[in-house]
Each structure stands twice: as C-alpha cells, then as structure tokens.
C-alpha cells in the first residue's frame, strides 16, 4: 500500500543518493585551489539528509500510525496546477495582458460564476496591474513570442 510517511522520506533518500553520484562527477576547479573543495558542502548535506529521512522512517514505524490522513492531492489541486502551468505557458506566447484576461475568465467560468460584476472586477484588476507595472514602475511585462 502507498504510504506517504514511508514513501516520501525514501524518495528523499533516493534524491540524496543521486545527488551524491552527481557530486562525484563535479569537474575539477581550474582557477582556485582550496583546502575544502566544491564537493564538500553538498556531500555533507546529502549525507545529513539521508540520516534525517532514516530517522523519520524509524520514528513513523515506532509511532502508533493511527493518525487520520488528509488526501495528498485532490482534483481541485490538480486544477490549480494546470491553471498555473497553463497561465505561464500562455504568457510566453501571447504576453501578460491577453494571458491574464484569458486565464482569469477561464478560472471564473470553471467555478461557474454567473455574476458579471466578478468578471468586470477581474478584468479591471488585470488592466490596473498592467498600467501599474508599465507606466508607474516602468517594468516591462512579458510581451509574448507572437507579438513582439
């Protein structure tokens, strides 16, 4: 059975081992010889991480395991992830302004919002931020590959 209290620390141990392998392949420095090299700190941390995760596993095995668990990822969280990634991808292509308008509208429609006032507030917000950044702070917001 999938048990996150065992699985997660084990995964972190696996990551630490991969890190240790990567550390062993660091190139030799060419310009600065130092008594403690580039590999020292990461190695110490990776080993520490393995120890900590082992303790976590042992601690869990010894505990009474009766804690009720919240589900790790729900469908709503998945919606959140897709919204984030979709929005970021959209920005790279069509720029901030369009992506935000599309993203915000899609989000409200997904939640079956009927009130027009919500849509209007959302759009005003998007334009207000655009104005604030480009005119007041003079920070250029992403323009998107298709238009610039």
């Amino acid at each position: 059975m999938f048990n996150r209290n065992i699985f997660f620390p084990s995964l972190m141990i696996l990551f630490s081992i991969i890190a240790l392998v990567l550390i062993s392949q660091f190139p030799e420095p060419r310009y600065q010889d130092a008594p403690v090299g580039a590999d020292f700190f990461p190695s110490v941390i990776a080993v520490l991480q393995i120890i900590i995760c082992s303790v976590l596993i042992i601690q869990y095995k010894r505990s009474d395991k009766a804690t009720k668990e919240k589900p790790l990822i729900s469908s709503h969280a998945i919606f959140g992830f897709t919204l984030l990634i979709g929005y970021a991808t959209l920005i790279t292509f069509v720029g901030y302004l369009l992506a935000s308008l599309i993203g915000f509208t899609y989000y409200l429609m997904y939640h079956r919002i009927k009130k027009p006032s919500y849509y209007i507030i959302a759009w005003i917000f998007v334009f207000a931020i655009y104005f604030l950044f480009s005119e007041v702070f003079i920070i250029s917001l992403p323009e998107g590959l298709l238009f610039y």
């Binding site: 060419r30 600065q32 250029s140």
Partner: protein, 308 residues
C-alpha cells in the same frame, strides 16, 4: 520544439520587416539589457546612458536587468534577441573571458558591437598604514614569501591579479570576495593586505585617505587620482582594467547600427552623462564600432594567456 517555433517566428518577422526597417527607425521603445543587477555599477552606467540617449533618439529606452552567471545569462539572452535594433545589450569584459572559460555559449562574435563606453584601469590598494608604499615593495614581499600575501580578490579568477603575477613571476594568496563592496572592507579591516579595483569603486576611500593606492594599471595617469603613478612608471610593463560597451544582435542591419552609434556618441558627449561619469570617477572611452571590435579581439587574446 519551442526553439524551432521561435526561430520560425523570428525569421518570418525578419522577412516581413527587413525592407521597411531603417527608414522609420526607431518607431517604438528600445530595450537595453543590463546583465548585472539593479543598483550595481554596470546598471548605473546603463541607466544613465539610456536616459541621455532617449532624448537623441526620440524614443524611450527601458532598462531590463537580466542577471546571472557573472553576466553570462544576460549577454547570451541579448545576443539571441531579434536583430531589429530594438533590443540592445550592455556588454562587459566578461564577454571576452567567460566563453574562453567554458562558462558562456555566446561570444563577442554573436554581437555587432556599437560603441565602447568606458575603460577603467585597475588600481592596487592597501590600507593607509600598510608597510607597502610602492608596487615594488609589494612585489618584493611576494617574492620573499610566495603565496603568503593575502589578496582580496573581487572575482575568481581575477585577471587583474593574474596580469601582475605573470609579469612579475609572483604568487599571492587570493581570497575570493564577491565584488569590490566586499573586498574593500576586507582590506580596511586588515583581514587581507591588498586588493585591486577600479578607481570608481574605491573613490570614497581614496578621497578620505582610508586606502592608499600603490599604482594604477593604465598607460597614463588617471585624472581622478593624478598623484598615483602608473605601474609603467614604476618599471613594470603591466596594464589591465575593465570596460563596458553597447552591442546589438549580430544580424542587426548596418543602417540601424549607424543610427544608434551616432545617438550614443551624442549621449556620451552630453553634459548629464559626462557629469555622472566624472562624479563616479569612471573614464569615458568612446570607441567606434570598428575600433571597439578590434579592441575586444585583442582583449580576448590577452585573456587567453591566463586561461589555459
């Protein structure tokens, strides 16, 4: 896939706009990429130059800081933008050194260099009460105790130091600090004995007398610190320093480079820019496109001697 699409879009854009390019340039805002953080020396020079050039060009220039990898990220980013003259990049000496060290994919050849802006020599600095009074004192000590004189290095590897070390066949103990703002306090606090920075970076400590300059690594003395002798005067033929300039992606049409070059000439001659540089103790060195390109080629050769 993304890269392919990007190339496709860029080339389509090129074909569409190539004919109508230069005639109405500039017709929209220009971006100037600064490969170092907001608030640093390169950023200040970039912003001030942008401020002066915008009046000449009649269009606004927005500065965009793109930091990382000692300038590599920003300069590579700038080299890969559309060659339409609307994205310019502040190029620094790192464009000559980083590619040779394998730390940057793009080189100076990926740019059409427009103008060099400033060229500043390195100054050798020690605390005011240091026993060293000339560069010869320093070299003598380093010869007596190789690898013992503690040097506060502003970057690793430090090409200022390497120039001196190689010319005089000495070795100092280089402790790497993150820029002049860390190296100077280290020397002031006597944790290290000597450092090398540009005059602008240490002008406050030089004026107040907290630091003593042993020598300046330029061909001639610098107007901001007229009492400091050059290394050549002290019998060592070593010059080194750092420089900045403006570049555009390599396929930018020559007419646009011409327009921009003229604009930057005027900007560099403007009272505001000259005043800013003088107050910051930086030396304007306005090389034209061709000379600048030759200069960078020469510097690449010089640096290759240190990078084995």
């Amino acid at each position: 896939m993304k890269k392919l699409l990007k190339t496709a879009i860029i080339s389509a854009g090129l074909i569409m706009s190539a004919s109508s390019f230069a005639a109405d340039y500039p017709s929209k805002n220009i971006r100037l990429i600064v490969p170092f953080g907001a608030g640093g020396g390169t950023d200040a020079v970039g912003r001030t130059l942008a401020n002066s050039a915008k009046d000449v060009l009649g269009t606004s220039i927005s500065v965009m800081n793109r930091t990382g990898g000692a300038g590599a990220v920003g300069m590579s980013f700038g080299a890969q933008q559309r060659p339409d003259g609307y994205t310019l990049t502040v190029v620094t000496r790192e464009i000559a050194s980083l590619p040779q060290m394998g730390l940057m994919q793009n080189t100076a050849d990926d740019f059409k260099l427009i103008r060099m802006v400033n060229l500043d020599p390195a100054v050798i600095l020690v605390p005011a009460d240091s026993p060293f009074n000339t560069v010869n004192d320093l070299v003598a000590e380093a010869k007596k105790n190789p690898g013992k004189v503690k040097f506060a290095s502003t970057a690793a590897p430090n090409f200022y130091l390497m120039a001196l070390e190689q010319a005089q066949d000495i070795k100092l103990n280089a402790v790497p600090y993150n820029g002049a703002s860390e190296a100077i306090p280290s020397v002031l606090g006597k944790h290290t004995q000597v450092t090398m920075v540009t005059p602008g970076e240490a002008i406050a400590q030089l004026r107040s007398g907290q630091l003593k300059a042993l020598g300046v690594m330029s061909k001639e003395r610098i107007s901001y610190i007229p009492d400091v002798p050059t290394l050549i005067e002290q019998g060592m033929d070593v010059t080194t320093g750092t420089w900045r300039g403006i570049g555009a992606p390599k396929d930018t049409p020559d007419e646009i480079i011409e327009i921009l070059g003229n604009a930057f000439d005027k900007a560099m001659a403007s009272a505001q820019f000259k005043d800013f540089m003088a107050k910051g103790a930086m030396t304007i060195h306005p090389l034209k496109a061709q000379e600048f390109t030759g200069f960078v080629k020469q510097d690449e050769k010089t640096l290759s001697k240190f990078i084995k």
